[in-house]
Amino acid sequence: MRDGQVVKGVQFRNHRVMGDILELARRYRDEGADELVFYDITASPEGRTVDRGWISRVAALLDIPFCVAGGIRTVREAELVLNHGADKISVNTPALADPGLITELARRFGTQCVVVGVDSREADGHYRVYQNTGDPARTRESGRDTVEWVREAQARGAGEIVLNCMNQDGVRRGYDIAQLACVRAACQVPLIASGGAGAREHFAEVFEQAQVDGALAASVFHSAQLDIGSLKAYLGSRGIEVRT
């Protein structure tokens, strides 16, 4: 999401406009998506909060849960997003800067509301967390080990972890099964795989081999390469439980 439109990049760069928010939200709702996540990467001028009016329009349209990520740095901003009708909020870079934010959010809104997004990639044989990934010029390694950070986030009240495997993002070669399985072993709350989905087999693999609770994808749906209804039918035929 940027300035009212859905955009998608490749490995967090070169974002292209994919369509109108409400049109895409309606399409995914009707195709049978179980949940939608909106990453609001609208640039927020220093110290100012971005316009969240679009959240109410999405909330009025959707009859499935949705999560808003991006620019939530305080309890107040989170409250605004939830009051507009979002079901969950996801924090990423601000939680790395101030892990106490996770604790505060969980205390105020309950752990079920609080998703921690983790952008991670392998470096020298270790999985490391990256921050400011919405802006390539400012993206940098956070100094944190991914598994340690996932443990800390849960201890502080994260109700769900979205692990975005950056080296796979937007390239459609499949989820990073090894990394997801490694994090799964340390993650007791729902774990959502993100980054790399390019074919229906990739979804089956990530459920079967990394035991994730959910699979998130963007490019492959935005481009209409896969539709969610037939993807779910396929997963069901492979014995994976899906909502129909």
């Binding site: 709702r29 009859d63 849960p65 009051n83 309950g110 109700g159 609770d213």
Partner: protein, 199 residues
């Protein structure tokens, strides 16, 4: 055209999605603690976010703890609002409204079964009632909760999360759903529609 649905204001934040869901069914709603409005509304919804004790304190502060059990119009408790209709909740050992019999208990977390119970899960019908008309056995609904009522006499549909719990309950004009109908796709919309048109 019936008047607005009265949504009892328990001070919780996120009721926007519930109001939107009613709007999609063509119904206005009003968020209120006003006894006259609540007593005369065609339908009343008791939503619930947050903790049982705080919610009961809010109801008592507005004298709604004595009003709600006397309501004669259809009332639907949702999520924590369902639990409040029962005798008590183990959450902070809170006495509740005592309209339905039973005590909400906390789920015990197990590996692979975290608490809160959050996400889509299936309804298993235990009774044929208008509230469940058009809702298939095994239909998926969206849940977010840490406490639940055990299956009992008033259970209309159950869901399994480790053990079976009451997902839909009701007796007389008091109805309840542990899941969030406003976020449960067409299944949830059908339950809300049944509540508004068949009761």
């Amino acid at each position: 055209m019936p008047g607005p649905v009265a949504i009892i204001d328990g001070g919780g934040a996120n009721i926007a999605s519930l109001r939107f869901a009613l709007g999609r069914l063509g119904r206005e709603s009003v968020l209120t603690t006003d006894a006259a409005l609540i007593s005369t509304a065609s339908h009343v919804i008791l939503p619930g976010v947050g903790a049982a004790r705080a919610a009961m304190d809010q109801l008592r502060a507005a004298s709604l703890d004595t009003l709600i059990p006397r309501l004669t119009r259809p009332l639907l408790g949702i999520c924590l609002g369902m639990q409040l209709l029962f005798d008590a909740s183990a959450e902070d050992d809170t006495p509740c409204l005592g309209i339905l019999t039973g005590t909400a208990r906390r789920f015990v977390p197990e590996p692979g079964r975290p608490v809160p119970h959050m996400g889509w899960n299936q309804l298993h019908r235990r009774a044929g009632v208008p509230l469940l008309d058009g809702i298939d056995e095994g239909a998926y609904c969206y849940f977010v909760h840490s406490y639940a009522l055990p299956v009992g006499d008033t259970t209309l549909a159950s869901t399994r999360y480790g053990t079976d719990f009451a997902a839909v309950a009701g007796h007389g004009n008091f109805l309840a759903a542990q899941f969030h109908p406003e976020r449960s796709g067409t299944v949830g919309a059908r339950l809300l529609e049944n509540f508004l048109t068949r009761y």
